[in-house]
């Protein structure tokens, strides 16, 4: 089922396109689960006031840049996809990172499939979802309406108190990542918290955290520091070194 040949409308021949749109979604830098939840709403047609649970009236969703979609936390190593082949001793496991290596689009497809209601319409709805790992898609010449997943407001995961002045954090990187959404440490921009798409992402070693390289590592969303945060880290390390040298 996964292979998408050069016939883009394969599988969509029996679809009645009246009242449907073809939507284009860019998965670049989107959190996989949240994007999948949004896609499942589109595929069910729940964004239209003419929604009917017995009809498959969802839009066709074309997702590009699926290989650049992100898991937060340690999920690339920790998340394990399991299935049983039916044969004795046939429990198979694969980590998210390994599955990404095999077929980056499959992760998103599985996630969306798990979020669709498990009924007779599920297969038809899944067929309306087309996921492509790169920025190319074969739906040339078709009018694709862009669909933007809702922007997130990051939670305040801070400590609840700010460091008193004169104290430097012992682990500046961890401190910064923790205090990112915190209102106390100046993380709240206009009280709305940071939006997920951070424009000023620093490239740590210049080894391009983009996952678009063949065999490159997917972006570990939480770990990258912005330019401001890097500066803070350097300053606090210098201050700490200065004080440490002065103590002994």
């Amino acid at each position: 089922m996964p292979p998408n040949p050069a016939r883009p409308f394969a599988g969509l021949e029996r679809v009645d396109f009246t009242g449907l749109r073809m939507r284009l979604i860019d998965a670049d830098n989107q959190v996989i689960g949240r994007l999948a939840a949004y896609l499942s709403m589109l595929l069910q047609g729940k964004d239209k006031p003419t929604y009917a649970p017995h009809k498959d009236a969802g839009d066709v969703c074309v997702v590009v840049n699926a290989e650049r979609a992100v898991f937060t936390g340690n999920k690339w190593e920790a998340k394990v996809y399991r299935w049983h082949t039916g044969y004795p001793g046939g429990l198979k496991e694969i980590t998210a990172r390994e599955l990404w290596r095999r077929d980056p689009a499959e992760i998103l497809r599985r996630t969306v499939a798990g979020m669709l209601p498990k009924n007779n319409l599920r297969d038809a709805r899944l067929r309306k979802l087309r996921v492509f790992p790169g920025p190319q898609h074969p739906f040339t010449g078709v009018e694709l309406v862009p669909a933007q997943p809702p922007r997130r407001r990051l939670r305040d995961r801070g400590l609840g108190w700010a460091l008193p002045p004169g104290f430097e954090p012992m682990n500046p990187e961890a401190y910064l990542v923790r205090m990112r959404g915190s209102r106390l440490a100046g993380g709240g921009h206009g009280g709305a918290g940071e939006l997920q798409q951070q424009q000023a992402r620093a490239q740590p070693d210049g080894d391009a955290a983009g996952g678009a390289q063949p065999g490159g590592e997917p972006i570990a969303f939480d770990d990258l520091l912005t330019a401001d945060e890097l500066a803070f880290v350097q300053r606090s390390q210098q201050a700490r070194a200065g004080r440490g040298g002065g103590d002994s």
Partner: protein, 114 residues
Amino acid sequence: MTRVKRGNVSRKRHKKVLTLTKGFRGAASLLFRTANQQNMKALRSAYTNRRKKKRDFRRLWITRVNAALRTYGFNYSEFLYILKNSKIVLNRKVLAQLAICDPDTFFKFVMSLK
């Protein structure tokens, strides 16, 4: 004892049930014993589902109104709060139909509440 023929008594009794089970699958539309059981089940389901129908439709209207509102950037929960406070008694059924059939009026209505 005088002889009693059973005649058409049972047949008339059974006919009543069998006419209710027309369209049932297999023996349930043909054989009285099976049909009787399925008929009882069907009537019981009809009873509960008449009550469920009211719930189901309300859910559908809510989903539809929610969808229509979100195309304008509002959401159902906040909208309902405003609606309740403004003492407007339009119900969800009306709002859902309005959103489908006359979206312009729906939009004006929503904006007038804001």
